[in-house]
Amino acid sequence: MRGETSGHAVLRGVTRVYPGANPVHALGPIDLDLATGEFFSVVGPSGCGKSTLLDVLAGLNPPSSGTITFEGNPVAGEVPDGVGVVFQEDASFPWLTVRDNVAFGLRRIGMDGAEIARRVDYAIGFMGLKDFASSYPAQLSGGMRQRVCIARTLVLQPRLILLDEPFGALDQQTRLLMGDELLRLWRETGATILLITHALDEAAMLSDRVGVMSSRPGRFIDLVDTGWTRDRDSRIVSEAAFGVITARLWSSLRTESMKAMGRT
């Protein structure tokens, strides 16, 4: 455990067991301290419970045991104010334009129209969607639709952003560029970020720390400090440290992945 006794978000002894005739022990026990403003990635074999971890942290699913706190307050039952989530699948509303999609959350909390317009314009500009503000998601590529979802979360000015394999459906080059976008977002907002990804290079490149999860039930078997500076971008792939980090991640992960594959 790190020096701080209370991080921005803290999980203690968190497990998640899916009930039923044959209960499935999907996650845990997990202990995690997210420092304020850190970029933390989670990697692990498929089916290890990465997405469950995100669900539990966001308040979308209750833990079967253990506690979760966000900014000192317990998380239970609903998504806390200040937490934003970007999901794996395309979650843009197909019946709304890009602009209306991004404004969706702000309209629901009754924010004043001028303020909404200001924030929406900023987010749309920030994510490079200005030329498509009046388009519908169906007219956009997969990567752009994910940017819409990120913008929609951005306008809420969340202090903790959870991303569940947001770039999984994209090709490698687009993913690298989106990674740069994510870093830019991170620096500008100063938010704490938890990124779930199956791509080791993505985790190695983007994060301050990477947590390696075991196969199901997922527990952290390694926590890697990358030591990157805050102003990094995708060009650090050329540095030697990048290879070292990625290699370490894989060596921790390899046997777990084989286990998961044998199981499935």
Binding site: E78, F87, D90, A91, F93, P94, G105, Y136, T153
Partner: protein, 253 residues
């Protein structure tokens, strides 16, 4: 010419050629004149009939019956579809019934409905309702099934309550399927009512067509028939064009 334009052009050309062929066949006696009227005469007959009070009264009667059956079917189908979607066990039990529903010729229930409601407009509304409601129910179930789960999680992230999630997320997501249900409901209500009027002889356009047939009044028969066919096709085309606009914005979901 773009492909889409060519398709539309070919469609119109095929339709018009068919009509022209029929016209020629009738005029030259290939098709016996006692059997089928040339389309041009059908059109003139229809226009003349639509100017008579009697026919306008029939039109009003049939259209209002259809409207009642349609409205009731959409409301009931949507309500029960939503209800059933939230009760998985009940839905599983009723599923085989729904799957076989349209294999039953519901017209066999006419005598029962007449005996229950009397020889008035109600058995017809009932038949239209019985024909249309299940289509709306099935479409509602399908539409609700197809709401992507991730959108529900987005709603939870925005901390929308039950009601707002239903109105702001579920309903718009299910709309394409709901719209198909509405289209089908209108068509089935129309079919049910007209067939009912035919068989039950209780007034309206269906009855008038049957009466004209039995009175050897081909002009009236074909004029009314053309009107019924055009009404069915045009109402469906109108709804389809709305649906097309909806789909084009959202992409083929």
């Amino acid at each position: 010419m773009s492909r889409a334009a060519r398709i539309v052009w070919t469609r119109w050309a095929t339709g018009l050629s068919a009509v022209l062929l029929l016209e020629l066949a009738c005029r030259t006696g290939l098709v016996p004149k006692l059997a089928v009227l040339p389309p041009s005469e059908m059109i003139t007959a229809m226009i003349a009939l639509l100017q008579t009070d009697e026919v306008l009264g029939n039109v009003a009667q049939t259209f209002s019956t259809v409207a009642l059956a349609f409205a009731a079917a959409v409301a009931a189908g949507f309500t029960f579809g939503t209800l059933l979607h939230g009760l998985p066990r009940a839905r599983r039990a009723i599923d085989p019934l729904l799957a076989s529903y349209y294999s039953v010729p519901i017209f066999v229930f006419y005598p029962l409905l007449v005996a229950l409601f009397g020889l008035n407009i109600l058995p017809l509304v009932a038949i239209g309702f019985l024909a249309a409601a299940p289509a709306m129910l099935i479409a509602t179930l399908l539409g609700l099934d197809r709401v992507p789960h991730v959108l529900l999680r987005v709603a939870r992230m925005h901390r929308l309550g039950w009601g707002r999630t239903a109105i702001l997320v579920i309903l718009p997501a299910a709309l394409p399927n709901l719209f198909q249900g509405i289209k089908l409901s209108l068509a089935y209500a129309f079919i049910g009512v007209i067939a009912g009027e035919f068989i039950l002889s209780s007034g309206g356009l269906g009855y008038s067509i049957a009466f004209a047939y039995e009175s050897f009044d081909n002009r009236t028969m074909y004029g009314l028939m053309l009107f019924v066919l055009l009404s069915a096709v045009l109402s469906n085309a109108l709804l389809s064009s709305w649906e097309g606009r909806l789909q084009r914005r959202r992409g083929r979901a």
